[in-house]
Symmetry: C2
Subunit: 142 residues, 2 copies
């Protein structure tokens, strides 16, 4: 609080402060997710507190698995003070639906493989129900 705006950070400092790599910060700017950063006379990018805040927002959203498209939407809603919370909730719940679908898919794969692995003795012998399944053999129908 003593130094009002601790003075703008370079991209490396911003990266360290927010956990977003410098590469990704430039990429977010290039793709329009974030507006163009201020520049020094010599062309270095500068980031103020508000920018760091936005970067942390993006980082948090990515940690929650939102796509860049969704994050763009959320950033827009964040900056629109008159948004309805329903709009945000809808984006969030849509994403939860995606996550649940992906989880169900992975879960089905994992269960199938665990089941096959259980029946594979896993020793020196070549017989292997896992390969038999992959090869399309339906053991017990032979």
């Amino acid at each position: 609080m003593n130094e009002p705006t601790a003075r703008a950070a370079t991209i490396g400092e911003a990266a360290r402060a927010t956990g977003v790599s410098a590469k990704m910060i430039r990429y977010y700017e290039e793709t329009g997710l974030l507006g163009p950063a201020e520049r020094t006379a010599s062309g270095y990018r500068l980031y103020g507190e508000a920018d760091l805040h936005a970067l942390r927002f993006v980082r948090r959203a990515r940690d929650l698995g939102f796509s860049m498209r969704e994050i763009a939407e959320l950033l827009g809603l964040w900056q629109d003070r008159s948004r309805a919370s329903a709009a945000v909730k809808s984006v969030a719940l849509g994403h939860v639906g995606d996550l649940r679908r992906r989880i169900a898919e992975l879960e089905a794969m994992a269960r199938t493989l665990e089941h096959l692995a259980e029946r594979c003795c896993g020793d020196e012998r070549p017989d292997c129900p896992i390969l038999d399944d992959l090869a399309g053999a339906v053991p017990g129908r032979d």
Copy 2:
């Protein structure tokens, strides 16, 4: 058995017969996952029964979420009659580990979001715990 080898299939027929797109069949050949296909005098690829079998193997493995690297390994083991089933089981269980890790990550994201969404009234008003979380606000510590 009546027609010994029902005559080789073109890439389109192979695609239809195995559920692997023609694009992907060419890609698997190009990257060495599968050996080069036979060719007609005019350059068309031809696929025999054994090739179709291998394609179905790859398809099934992809359905189970194996990476191409893992599939290459599994194909090698499949074709090596003297492999130990332990080697196959180890690849499979390694993959199950990957799947379980990814599931846990997605599950954590989904739970966090569901939790936030529950507390978001989702109406006309702008107040939204979801955005507050993304923005780094820690409600209740204020």
